[in-house]
Amino acid sequence: MANVQAGVPPTDKALDVERKGALARSDLSRQRLRSAWLFLTPMLLVLALVAGWPLLKTIWFSLTNASLADLEGAEFVGLRNYWEYVDYGDGEGEYFGLLFDPQWWNAVYNTVYYSVISVAIETVLGLVFALVLNAEFKGRGFVRAAVLIPWAIPTIVSAKMWAWMMNDQFGILNDMLMTVGILSAPIAWTANPDTAMWAVIIVDVWKTTPFMALLILAGLQMVPGDVYEAAKIDGIHPVKVFWKVTLPLIRPAILVAVIFRALDALRVFDLIYVLTPNNTQTKSMSVFAQENLFQFDKFAYGSAASTLLFLVIAFITLFYIKVARLDLGGRGK
């Protein structure tokens, strides 16, 4: 027997060990996988309950003729809320539905316009703020806290506050600009179709720049100090250091901050609803959906708008992640 055993080629033994090892590893990984699922299940359940279920319900309502007065009586009507051709019987017809609704596309345009401009300004300003706050100076802690105040104020309150500041008759903004001599006559900021969207953007920038600054500051603080020291010793110009060292190192932080903000901006509701209610120039997708859901007797149509809003945001986010090559898997490069 011993001979036989000795006769077994050593490679076989090695293979055996390897196979056993693989078995043990897969056992271990299976076990880890199991516990991972165990720990994740409560969160997934909660997510399914608070996010998945309402989403599915909304999508379902968008395929029905639901009215808010009678949600149980909703009947399936297919894609009629999105796309419908009504034949008038005399060779003429007309397309109906969300996809053919110029007001919906106007809302999409407004939302995207608002998001791109406001997030762009907030990112640049936030970066500047973060760089300033990252520097060592006396009272830095206080300034860091103070900068956060606009972010801490509820949007409704800040929107109302700004509405008064932008008031054409009593507003402090016109008063200040006229005293300085920039304006000769007061501007009706929120009513004038040329300035309404900018009024919204100004308030949003005021409110959200601190948030961007904070996220970017967190990124800045991860940059090791010796990189700067090395650059200094090599005598590199600070501007070059910023472009070649700082910016590449905080790029991931900025990209994540931008996606947070962009998701928020695309869903904008409260600011616009309070500052410029019912204004065609500023109506966002969410306001459009709310209007149809609750103001008009078109719950199904509003649900369709909500569904499309979800799809538009999902599409833009995926596109952004792809273009920015954002690493959300945590594998590193």
């Binding site: 008759q169 009513a191 609750f294 103001q295 007797d297």
Partner: protein, 421 residues
């Protein structure tokens, strides 16, 4: 104090009818404009004292458009926390399904009230809400300024435009740079539908949608009326008027910075108040006439409805009866110049003394023009939104009135399809 006694007596009567003295906690939701809430609180205190119930006011923003969204949400969720809703005159067809039928409970009260108001709150034979007060706007003018420049209160919109321009310019030359000729409600919301309906109807341009459901808004007279209003913005009216609701317009007027204002009678009581800059310097006339030669006032007004989800319906009905009663309406008219729906009160000498506008307004109310909420049924809000959007776009210089009305007609046709529902 006789009034107070009347209220007390009435409340006692109501209590007997309700047949129980079980104390209940009620909640009433109402929008806040002018002195409405403090006046309401006073009357609720009287009700509480008599009935033993307690009533909480849930305060809402002034914009009727904002209120509606919230109410619809609550009602469709079967909210039990609110028992009584103060509802706009245009809401009855849209919210009828969520409210209790009051026709049986108010049997004895109904004949005392203006039949057209009762009619506006009746949907398929069901009395959806009981009238609290009615509303018909007025043209407020600065009697001191008109006298100073030797002008008469305008009878037509053309006269108003001319007078407003002249006084505004002369006042500004004299150093009063904040002076405006005319302020009204130009923000895109339900209020603009009222204002614009008045311009259009007084010009012979119809009522947007005729009582039998025909879309009539796309006509030359309507376009001319809206073009005329467009001419005001930036000349006699500040550009900010495009974001003014009732209270913003009153803010400009009551600080003494407008020659004319279009507003509801509630502003009369406030303009005559102690802290008003125009106290004793103003008066009211019915709105000017357009080409039709007739003035048109938009019919407004607020009513009280009992939620069918309320757990205290009997007490809630008693409260509605109390607040809509002749005595309560009289008190309200005297304190806040809210117009009663009981015709006999227009001849009441006490009211005439306290708020002269009420006594003069009986005829205006009688001839007020309703918004097309009845023919367009549950789609009224959307019709109204399309209308105010078209008007607001025109006023802010985006397209001509004719083009925008043409587009409006197409949109309304799309909405209506084979018929209003």
């Amino acid at each position: 104090m006789t009034l107070r006694k009347m209220t007390v007596a009435l409340a006692a009567g109501v209590l007997l009818c309700a047949g129980g003295a079980r104390a209940e906690e009620l909640a009433l939701v109402a929008g806040s404009i002018g002195k409405d809430i403090s006046e309401l609180r006073m009357q609720l205190d009287a009700f509480e004292k008599e009935s033993g119930h307690t009533v909480k006011i849930v305060e809402m923003p002034a914009s009727t458009t904002d209120q509606f969204g919230q109410y619809r949400l609550w009602l469709s969720a079967g909210n039990e926390d609110v028992d009584v809703y103060r509802t706009d005159v245009i809401w009855a067809p849209q919210l009828a399904a969520s409210f209790v039928d009051l026709s049986e409970a108010m049997k004895d009260e109904i004949p005392k009230h203006n039949p057209s108001v009762i009619q506006s709150q009746t949907v398929d034979g069901k009395l959806v809400a009981f009238p609290m007060y009615t509303d018909a706007p007025a043209l407020y003018y600065r009697s001191d300024l008109l006298e100073k420049y030797g002008k008469e209160p305008p009878k037509t919109w053309a006269e108003l435009t001319e007078t407003a321009k002249e006084i505004q310019d002369k006042e500004r030359e004299a150093g009063n740079t904040q002076m405006n000729g005319f302020v009204f409600q130009g923000a895109p919301y339900e209020g603009l539908t009222c204002d614009a309906l008045e311009w259009v109807a007084s010009n012979g341009g119809g009522q947007i949608v005729s009582p039998d459901g025909e879309i009539t808004i796309n006509n030359e007279k309507a376009a001319a009326a809206i073009e005329m209003a467009k001419g005001w913005v930036g000349t006699i009216a500040p550009q900010g008027v495009l974001s003014y609701k009732e209270e913003e317009a009153r803010g400009v007027w009551q600080t003494g910075n407008a020659v004319f204002m279009r507003n509801w009678p509630y502003a009369y009581a406030l303009s005559a108040g102690e802290d008003s800059a125009v106290k004793g310097k103003f008066d009211v006339v019915p709105l000017p006439a357009g080409e039709s030669g007739k003035s048109a006032a938009c019919l407004g007004g607020w009513n009280l409805a009992v939620s069918k989800y309320s757990q205290h319906q009997d007490a809630a009905i008693a409260l509605v009866k109390f607040l809509g009663s002749e005595a309560a309406q009289k008190e309200r008219a005297m304190n806040t110049a809210r117009l009663p729906t009981v015709p006999s009160l227009y001849d009441d000498p006490e009211i005439a003394k306290a708020q002269p506008i009420v006594a003069e307004w009986g005829e205006v109310v009688e001839n007020a023009v309703p918004r097309p909420s009845a023919p367009t049924k549950r789609q009224y809000n959307e019709v109204s939104k399309e209308f105010w959007t078209a008007v607001n776009e025109t006023l802010s210089g985006r397209g001509t009135a004719a083009d925008n009305l043409d587009q409006l007609e197409k949109r309304l046709r799309r909405l209506k399809r084979s018929g209003w529902e």
